[in-house]
Symmetry: D2
Subunit: 344 residues, 4 copies
């Protein structure tokens, strides 16, 4: 069976495992107050060129979105997101559970449009009844988006400016940040830090066993952040596990190296799909590929390839996701190409 269903099907990159093994019997204080966390944070601060960055390590993506959004918003605030945004669609109501509405904008290949954001905010404040409505308290986007697409630097800058104009923080979900940056032509992690008020660097999908690094970039950390993390059940006792892993990810450019591996192999698969006239549901430059497949062909494919169900396309077709990752090998991609030869 070839595994292309997701980018979190294996454990962690061997160098991360090595770091965990090497430090396993070291005794440290709990809850992230250890030297490994400190070192990892220093490396990240340097890498993103943001000396004032305040960094917290959490375990998973939904947890991170919930904690960041709830700790930054007041009771009366909601968060603006694309209708396809992860927080809007695929987190089982974790944001609403914490009391906040997700205010949705239309998506354009997974992205929100700056002008629609601007219109939304203008209309809201022009509405004489807006005190009876949920206050827009944050803008959430992801890089890459749910469909693997990327904001250009200009798009990001414009959204950031709109947020600034309305004094609303911009939160960038970077669950797959390495895959986005590896595919982008003109974007660095320092840019992400510059344009956002808070963002996170995804580890779970990029070579860590688990872990996301939340970065408050503008001296804007919510008060009593440790208490808030604990209150959400999100404070890891052995916090040092996150420090050790992120230290490894940010040593010798490992994080971006893994990003490049996934994107190069995804590009190879995309080229092959095009050559074989497969129908792509949406074009994107990152590690996820969305293919429209006949249902009867899936009956065959599923015996050889583990892929992800994405959504129903029509009665006879389904959109599937093929994802590469840090763990994907050229050999596996070549095997996949062979399978793709006879399933279309």
């Amino acid at each position: 069976m070839l595994y292309f269903s997701c980018d979190y099907a294996e454990g962690c990159h061997p160098k991360v495992l090595e770091a965990l093994s090497n430090t396993n019997m070291v005794s440290t204080p709990g809850y992230g107050e250890d030297e490994f966390c400190k070192a990892a944070k220093d490396k990240i601060r340097k890498y993103i060129n943001c000396p004032q960055a305040d960094i917290y390590f959490l375990v998973g993506g939904t947890q991170t979105n919930q904690v960041v959004i709830d700790s930054m918003l007041s009771n009366y605030d909601g968060v603006i997101a694309a209708e396809t945004g992860h927080v809007a669609a695929h987190e089982a109501g974790a944001i609403e559970y914490s009391g906040h509405k997700v205010l949705t904008l239309p998506h354009h290949e997974g992205k929100i449009h700056a002008d629609e954001l601007s219109d939304y905010l203008n209309t809201f404040y022009a509405d004489e009844n807006h005190e009876h409505m949920v206050n827009p308290g944050m803008v959430y986007i992801s890089y890459p988006t749910e469909y693997g697409t990327l904001y250009t630097k200009t798009e990001l800058e414009t959204i950031s400016e709109i947020c600034g104009k309305y004094s609303i923080p911009l939160f960038i979900d970077g669950a797959r940040l390495a895959y986005g940056l590896a595919a982008a032509k003109d974007m660095t992690m320092a840019d992400i830090a510059k344009y956002s008020d808070v963002f996170y660097i995804g580890g779970t999908k990029v070579g860590a066993l688990f872990g996301e690094a939340v970065v408050f970039t503008k001296g804007n950390t919510p008060k009593h952040m440790i208490t808030q993390i604990k209150q959400h059940g999100a404070l890891l006792a052995k916090g040092r596990l996150l420090g050790v892993q992120f230290d490894a990810l940010f040593t010798n450019d490992l994080y971006m190296e893994m990003g490049r591996n996934a994107v190069e192999l995804a590009n190879a698969i995309r080229a092959d799909l095009h050559a074989k006239n497969y129908q792509l549901f949406m074009e994107n430059p990152t590690n996820q590929i969305f293919v429209v497949m006949e249902n009867k062909k899936l009956e065959t494919l599923k015996n050889e390839v583990s892929y992800g169900f994405w959504e129903k396309y029509d009665d006879d077709h389904t959109v599937i996701r093929i994802a590469t990752s840090w763990a994907t090998t050229e050999a596996a991609v070549n095997e996949l190409k062979k399978v793709l030869l006879h399933t279309n």
Copy 2:
């Protein structure tokens, strides 16, 4: 100044005030455990032809929606509503505050379409990732809708059947129920009770000082309902005030008589608007009229008539709401007609 801005601009119908005055110095137990509440509930049960109905009196609409939805849903549930539904748009996030997502469907003049509801539910259960999504745990509609439109009996029956098929309760918000039923050709309050699992009879907008009567129609009252109401800060100490008012509303057909007054006068205004070539934003048969007005004409109008801001139409036009109510008089309507003569 002529008041047509809303249907809650005055106190209460004189007969309701008389009932409150007559009973004012009677001593009763608190929290709705009094004889007035008992009598009012009996009258309602009889009126809606639903002997098993379990009835609770609450103070206002948003409170009622919040308490009903939160008490009937489990943690993992959300409520399906039209994107224009009151719970989706104009309750300041009261539903999300209680932990539940409002799952929106497109609106068609304020109504949801049965086939789109059916599609939504089919697609949800067909999605292999649906355990990562908010469970659709209730359908919320209002009668009349936010735009004053009405579901036909067939439409209501079909939605009710879909809910039954998926074992999801149907909740009908009747904040303006009298105005809906007075305008409907073939719908009674007994029908509303029959097709819904829970609904409420609005008093605040129909002649009471305040008050909404929640009716659980199918022996389906949530457990410890009094505790849940109290927990939401919604248990009125002098609950008897609600009983006294609803008793008056359901004596000598007062509730529907007030409904008819508002609808007849709204129809008179509508006829006049049509005759004078005003542009209606949306046609509907109930007590609210939505008119598209030039902004510069509003500058004049607002000195003579208190109307409701509804929404921006374009840069030069605004949608305003003209609402009649139980308190509207023919004299006031005639005055309004005169004003409308020179403002268009």
Copy 3:
């Protein structure tokens, strides 16, 4: 049947009813943006000698406690209260429902002791693990307390100073404020305003149909307060009903006059109980009297007097509450005295 079970058994003071009747058909904007509310607020500001006071009218006590506490606290905050405080014991978890822990201190006849409050705060901040604990974010007391007792001016001043030292707001629940102030030797409502950061003036139990006036005394109103009230389901559509009532309460000293009536008659009953050797559960100077009664005597008493169940005393005795109010008459007290003659 003589009614002494509570202070909310009747409707409202005739002067309040008269005000409601006189204004009944006046058309006003909704949600408290009317002239009646404005006038009532002006009167209160003057009465409490606090020109900067920001005032909001809500419907009931639990609702008010929930809205005030939740709007003033951050996620990580809890509220300190006596273990017998209303928010701790008798509000069905309304505070926890809004996400906040009630941090309890021992009670001394219903009151907290300043030194125990001080110890609590000192110990909290000295605990190296306090970031893993709920942050004390407010102190809640009531005047009078749950047992009808009163803080002296010195006690109140000391508690206020401790709150100031720790930058924690002091919230005074005045559900029965008139009964407390009428019984106090040296306390005015202006003192309550001075020592508190926020307090409320109870109307429900003192002659209004319903209504509590929340007063933010230090320019410290939470942001978007109207949105927060709406979000809790606590924004009354016909807000003017609250303005009309509080205007009446603060006209010609009616509020305090009603307070004095209740306290004088309670004192008369207390004197009679002492004279007849009844056992009082707790001495207090306000409108509630707690009497320890043999259960078998209650069997007789309950046929003639409606009293409140307070708590079990032992297997053979029960603590009952006898409450006077604005509505209690001297005639009723004389009748009660007769009954008390033969039930002990």
Copy 4:
């Protein structure tokens, strides 16, 4: 520096690390739907002699308590716990954050007394106002308790019977279950399963990198449990990491072997402390030792031993915690004994 501050200062037992390493590059489905989780659950079911057990793996203790309590309780329910219980005191309000009050009972060396529990429940239901109070919906205890003490089998059986009588589930927090069972004379994990309705087997503090296994023992799993876990931000993407670890913990009796190591070494330290006349704050048989120390002696001790701050004893003394664990060695204990010689 000798580390005795807690039982989560190191990574994981070498055999757990070996299992993680061996399976690292295996591709599996996410979210716990893998073969490793399945195998681990089978082993646990067999070990606890409970074939119907339904098992979920979560990451940490506070998270587990929050998810279990919130998913089993209804809105109107609170959870009964000792005032010193972890959920009451040291979880930053995580239970209240999810809307539920922690109803506290006095503690007796960390334990609740069955008769006080029974009294609490009797009194609650006898209170005529109990619908205005938080409903007792669950009993939470921990084994061992916050002070390392243990319930006897009789005590546990009695509490279980009381819960059964009131149809309230009994939840046993087993964050340190191995250390409790290793110290108990007559208790097995099968007994824990038998007497509880839900319990968890702690991994974080007993040799896993992280992880707690929640066991629903009576066919009483809350509906849509995966959705509820996700909604709390508690669903681990690489769920297999938990399966792999628990499989290792339940292979060749590793879990209990680690428990015995910690208890034996704790006993050795306790014997030494007694011999050297140290004052123990509380006697208990498990892996945590609470010692009352002069503050000035701590100034010396802290340079050689990392211990845990527990609480202030008086102005001159502090209670410290010395904890052994699966990772503690006899050599370290001997070093500690030397240090203890000169610090008293």
